[in-house]
Symmetry: C2
Subunit: 298 residues, 2 copies
């Protein structure tokens, strides 16, 4: 491939089947013949293939928790080292940061109702919503990526769409930007901190009043299942919310900040649970807690 | 009402009909008996009623462009002054900033297929996605609010939901946070500026690389229909993206910044169209261009 294509491939639609990896390569859905992740750390990942090789994968159709590659002994296929945020893993993380769409194909060996009975089936476009590090079933560290299906007609044709063409097929994608949740908890944490970021102290103001975001420390929803309670949220500016979600900043048990100078600003009416902070630090903070720097290959 | 309820009212479901405003008041859907907007500048708006009084309203069902109140002569009901960002208008803007849900009810006088044949019908929860100032059909300034329906099962039950209970009915809301669009244009503007914010120069970095957002100057989609081209985007950090979208910052024709010190950082490979900058400034920048400060009443 001379140019990496992100998004749909002209002439291929969701559900199309291909007899083998060569065929997936030839039509341009998944360029590499062996690797499960197509892409580079610099450009991002454009495509993945689910082929049943990773016991930690979880595929619910619209949501996939995909296990990164690396750390396995090529002879036995067993994991023998921690995975690292390199190569395909970094490519998927980069697609998250850049908001790039990732093509997903399923092989017949992959356990899912959406898998074909033979060969491979193209499953459409997903976005990488999250990535983190955890201990897999082998007892060794793995990277996991949460992919969520992009749906072309998410809101129907009448809504604001920020629609855009991705590649020559000009498929319309519907996205929602920064719809901030509101719960009593979110309102409460913003009020306690008077809309000032607990990391940098910045308070954004607008003609319609102050703006801040309530950031969950341990994420809501599967597989993290963080609680939506005051001890699991922080009041952050959008910049530090992004950096916190990406693991660029985190918090030590003494509330000093990781990845930036300073200490978390606290308030006596807002206790923060150290168990949730540890959860974030262990899974999202690269290079601080877990060994990220071994060489490996998939 | 002693406590303002945001979100659903227990025992009332979408489609329920009410014979008059007193009835809407009694069940708690829309507390005030006359005003079209329920809420305060401090708390935000919890409910609106569409009753056909504003010729500039536009109701597509899932998307409503709602005209603010004020500026009308009570005797003739004709607009005689510019509207201002005060009272109910400020309450709706505040709901946008805080991400609060707004109940929408339609009266039989309001021209929509969703209006009842008599009385009022509750139409469900919406979020305020945007607000701006423009010249209405009367030739005088009006505020407009773009409301988008909140859908409980937007992604189906399998996806990450950040679900949360709003009020005693514990309705589940599905939200998507900060799904960043990617187009060739967005990638291009980020690369040209090396992911540095064109307003503050900040460049967010993470273990998965640099992060920035492509902000459209004239918004995409109805009714703005800004083009998705390089001359209509800026490379911004999340903080300045929020502030730009809320009209807290904007740009003069000489590229000096409004609402903050400094000048827009430019690059010879990235021309910015002054026509789009003027569009943003006139509609989103409060108090800079248009007269916002007359007293008025609805």
């Amino acid at each position: 491939m001379t140019t990496r294509i992100f998004g749909d491939i002209p002439g291929v639609v969701e559900g199309d089947e291909f007899q083998d990896r060569q065929h997936l390569h030839d039509v341009g859905i998944h360029p590499p013949l062996q690797a499960g992740i197509s892409g580079t750390a610099n450009e991002g990942a454009d495509s993945i293939v689910l082929s049943g090789g990773y016991e930690d994968d979880s595929d619910l159709g619209d949501v996939i928790v995909y296990t990164g590659h690396g750390g396995r002994d090529p002879a036995t296929e067993r994991q023998v080292r921690h995975q690292t945020l390199t190569r395909g893993n970094m490519a998927l993380a980069r697609s998250q940061v850049l908001g790039l769409p990732v093509r997903v194909s399923r092989g017949h060996q992959h356990p899912s109702l959406l898998s074909p009975t033979s060969g491979y089936r193209y499953g459409g476009l997903y976005r990488v919503e999250d990535h983190w590090y955890e201990t897999g079933r082998s007892g060794l560290g793995i990277y996991r990526f949460r992919l969520v299906k992009l749906t072309a007609d998410l809101f129907g044709p009448a809504t604001r769409e920020d629609s855009e063409s991705l590649g020559p097929a000009a498929r319309k994608l519907v996205t929602v930007q920064r719809l901030v949740r509101d719960t009593a908890v979110a309102r409460q944490v913003k009020e306690i901190h008077a809309f000032a970021c607990q990391m940098c102290g910045e308070r954004l103001t607008s003609p319609a009043g102050a703006y801040a975001e309530a950031a969950h420390i341990r994420p809501l929803g599967a597989p993290h299942h963080g609680p939506d309670i005051l001890t699991n949220v922080l009041c952050l500016c959008p910049n530090h919310h992004v950096l916190f979600d990406l693991g660029a900043v985190s918090i030590q048990d003494d509330f000093s900040l990781i990845g930036m100078d300073g200490i978390l600003r606290r308030h006596r009416r807002h206790l923060v649970d150290l168990v949730h902070i540890q959860y974030h630090r262990e899974r999202y903070t690269c290079g601080q807690i877990v060994p990220f720097f071994q060489a490996e290959s998939r």
